[in-house]
Symmetry: D3
Subunit: 224 residues, 6 copies
Amino acid sequence: MTAKIAAAAGEVAGPGVEIAAVCPDDGPAAIESHVDEARAAVAVVELVERDVRAGGSDAYVVACFGDPGLDAARELVDVPVIGIAEAAMHLAAISGRSFAIVTTLSRTLGRAQDLLARYGMTDACVWMSGTGIPVLDLEEATGEAFETIARHCREAVAQGADAVVLGCAGMTDLCHRLADRVGVPVVDGVSAAVGLAAAMVRAGVGTSKRDEYAAPPRRPVPVP
Amino acid sequence: MTAKIAAAAGEVAGPGVEIAAVCPDDGPAAIESHVDEARAAVAVVELVERDVRAGGSDAYVVACFGDPGLDAARELVDVPVIGIAEAAMHLAAISGRSFAIVTTLSRTLGRAQDLLARYGMTDACVWMSGTGIPVLDLEEATGEAFETIARHCREAVAQGADAVVLGCAGMTDLCHRLADRVGVPVVDGVSAAVGLAAAMVRAGVGTSKRDEYAAPPRRPVPVP
Amino acid sequence: MTAKIAAAAGEVAGPGVEIAAVCPDDGPAAIESHVDEARAAVAVVELVERDVRAGGSDAYVVACFGDPGLDAARELVDVPVIGIAEAAMHLAAISGRSFAIVTTLSRTLGRAQDLLARYGMTDACVWMSGTGIPVLDLEEATGEAFETIARHCREAVAQGADAVVLGCAGMTDLCHRLADRVGVPVVDGVSAAVGLAAAMVRAGVGTSKRDEYAAPPRRPVPVP
Amino acid sequence: MTAKIAAAAGEVAGPGVEIAAVCPDDGPAAIESHVDEARAAVAVVELVERDVRAGGSDAYVVACFGDPGLDAARELVDVPVIGIAEAAMHLAAISGRSFAIVTTLSRTLGRAQDLLARYGMTDACVWMSGTGIPVLDLEEATGEAFETIARHCREAVAQGADAVVLGCAGMTDLCHRLADRVGVPVVDGVSAAVGLAAAMVRAGVGTSKRDEYAAPPRRPVPVP
Amino acid sequence: MTAKIAAAAGEVAGPGVEIAAVCPDDGPAAIESHVDEARAAVAVVELVERDVRAGGSDAYVVACFGDPGLDAARELVDVPVIGIAEAAMHLAAISGRSFAIVTTLSRTLGRAQDLLARYGMTDACVWMSGTGIPVLDLEEATGEAFETIARHCREAVAQGADAVVLGCAGMTDLCHRLADRVGVPVVDGVSAAVGLAAAMVRAGVGTSKRDEYAAPPRRPVPVP
Amino acid sequence: MTAKIAAAAGEVAGPGVEIAAVCPDDGPAAIESHVDEARAAVAVVELVERDVRAGGSDAYVVACFGDPGLDAARELVDVPVIGIAEAAMHLAAISGRSFAIVTTLSRTLGRAQDLLARYGMTDACVWMSGTGIPVLDLEEATGEAFETIARHCREAVAQGADAVVLGCAGMTDLCHRLADRVGVPVVDGVSAAVGLAAAMVRAGVGTSKRDEYAAPPRRPVPVP
């Protein structure tokens, strides 16, 4: 999946943008529960900390649709940090009045609701649907999985969505074929986030360090 | 702090309720950033998993005002799991029309806002304030820290709050003195959560296992 | 119905809690319109005033799902006053992300909507349904009434509700059987309110007397 | 006060509109608490029932800013029933983008908040203020009371209100003088409601009898 | 259509109210897109400017359901300026708890959503539907068009609407027949706006000139 | 001002992006009222129509903070159309939790509120302020104007804003100096929109043509 994400990111990166796609060594194999989410958040923190020690990057993208560890990562740097759910929702909201989310397991829709609220997108999202396809089954999106996802996308349009947001980084390679199939914009978070990162870097807009996202307080190590 | 929390919980537990206050071995010393929050969430997951393996409890309380790991813990059990921010907000909302939150560092107010939205309490909360007192300085709430917190509580009332929610488990022992000082209900999340846990257990209301909070999917361990 | 409510309350009361279930002498026989609601509110005020004159109680529960007279009763005392709709909604919101309300006549759902808004529960409530069963027909919940209510509860789960709130005190004795049937938490307001009352009394959280809920102004009796 | 209200209503009634201003015999002398509100609601129900028995009217106005008994009264008739808070808020919302409420005792602002939410006016209302003047002191609005109210109205404009809603039927005779003083529309609910009633009657728009506001169910009188 | 609107307005105007129905010379033939809306807004501005130069009127009604140019027109006068969508929504909200909008082309529902939000009516509107009938086809509402609209109105009631708002000035002559057919209030914006205008004029409530709606700044004509 | 906007856009465009900055021949000299807004919307429509006839562009940016004509322009093309208010708000919302808007005349803040609501940014915007500087005075931002704007930006931070959105295209050249001065991200809509346009083009996300934004219906030209 990391290779697939790297490919999608590279495709939209544009001249002068370099992508480093990294995967935590010991994160969960897939993120489809709050328990996975909690572990992934710590993994994201550690990857960003490691990258900062290695000199840092111009922007960071968290490439899981639950945007795990996004707030924490923002505390560690002053450059843009963008989640793919966040990015996809913002771009979809510009492509029309309303969007739908088509994702993997319906159990992740609760997290999606929290993110919609956090990003101001609750009203823009008019429909959400889980396809029942586990994340790891997307590794090779066979015809059947594609058809299932396409069916959900078509239903999204029937429900009044102007655009469809794909709710998993593992769907990134299906994006253009799905758009062709359903006839409305289909937004992949990886591409959206890479584009937004470039936009923010070029505009000189990083992460605010005012209060909430300032570097975390250092504390004396407690004596055991 | 764990002892203080245990004392507060014990005080309100009522007959027939037994409290086990536990602290993760390797969690952050205090939770006052999103990075701390991420680490604490994993620690909460591990503590609940360990307790379940040891036979489990009738209910769980997450005793940090950021309610870290609450959603994840809910996936692991079918009994009530209650965060102290959640509990304090619900009880405060019953004690009047509006409440304020008085907490430690203002940088944690962003997380509090997310929780208010999640629990439906955004409109009920009319004021939020950070006292600037770090969590660990609450270990021994000297006169000065108490006076600072009391001043913020009084300001909360002046700002139209019917009740005050204390935004840190470390303030639990100040609760009654603050209520006496400001003349409105002051709600400590630890006491609130213990009471709510007992209420839910007695009423036979646990955690719904319908979809989002069902046990997380088990996945084959990926071959490295 | 008063006896049924007393039984449900007693069952969850726990050690050290004493329940006095009272019914106004001249209130409406059932509360299923705004006109009934208006009359019940005055009856609640009168019952609380009488109880206060008789020495008062540690907490008050208003055992009708429209929470009639709740605000007024709060003006009369400084201890907790809890409505059963309020209590059920708060507990349901802790047992999952979302709940549904299954009630008697659909004409009462407007009042339920007002209460959802007042308590911050509009977003948490994903479905509402009237069974068409009048309150008084619940006195003896025959098999048929139970099956109708159970069918609505199952539909609630199908509509995405993590939990079901029973919208009438007269359903209190069906709660556990319904939970067994539908497999998600089913919340009865009477049990919820009794538990919340105990929680608030133990935590020392009463009704704020700051402004809105202070004792009503006494006025010279107008000369006719 | 009834005479004052009748005068204000008559002034705006226009040709062909007849006003009957009535006051319950045994309602509270003034309505400035939830307890008063509860009693006033029953009084409104009784007055409407009596009027219906006497042949009925073309429309009803509830002339207290808490709109007591409004929902109940709507159950009794199929013609328009309008509260003066409701009317004033709707008209103020048309006269500009935002309004403020200036009322008698601040303790009534909670009720005003509930009404704002019920009528969709929460966002439009940018400021609310209690003058501290009891309702009965408005009977003869001496210079001092007028100046106090005018000062609050001016502050409302400074706080960004395009218009001011007067939060008590007892202020009806001050409306035009206040508008002259502060230079923005000042809306009196009595005049607003009379105008709205005429508008609805002429447009043939009454109270919907679909479900919530259908006539209340008749029940067999319970045998004592 | 202008004649039809004039007739509807005249019918509800009441004694002492004179209606002047005017149509821009070069506005769009119908308003069923944002492009039409933009052109209509400028036409409204020009008509109001012309009327002001001719002595002005006591109130203005913008008789297109998109309320085009409403904010701009308000800058030009200090008397009431009322849009028919605005008026219909406010009156419908008083006739029951909820309403539906039945309009011409579904593509105009986006604009309706913006207006609902602007007027605080988002929650009150429980259903919206486009009939697919173009505006100009309403000129002569044959039996077929009427039946289509009536079918949508009945569906609106089934969806829980207490009242129906007609989403086009061209439907004004169908209003009473539709109300008879569906049994709930059906609100035509033209009648509603004329009534509201009379109400505001009689109550002395005009357009606030505080800041946003003050006369637009005059600027030196730029030298080309 | 057109030259200034072209410069800002060119600066952030990145390799392979070509900017054509155009100004309507007969639009208003500045846009600081709803009347100006209405006229500018028509001018935007005409410019886009003309560009489409000339072969079209890959994306369109509407470079006025009121985003005039944005919805209408979207009907005319299937590529991205982005308003600078929209772009600035989205980017600011990613740079922190909250932002403020600092603009020219306070009378334009009403329009800004409508846009915040339309884009889901009402909660993210914690403060708005008009500097009182007319648009045309920004042509040459002398020291004094800059200091005034900087003072408002500092106040924005004091009011809790993580970032500042500049509310006028005429402030685009002040953006970096202001960011240096206040120490939080300052977002210029022109730069933001150009970056977002590139992001959307690269990700293959255009304007949805589903219903609302489909090409407007063609109608027979009415016979005069």
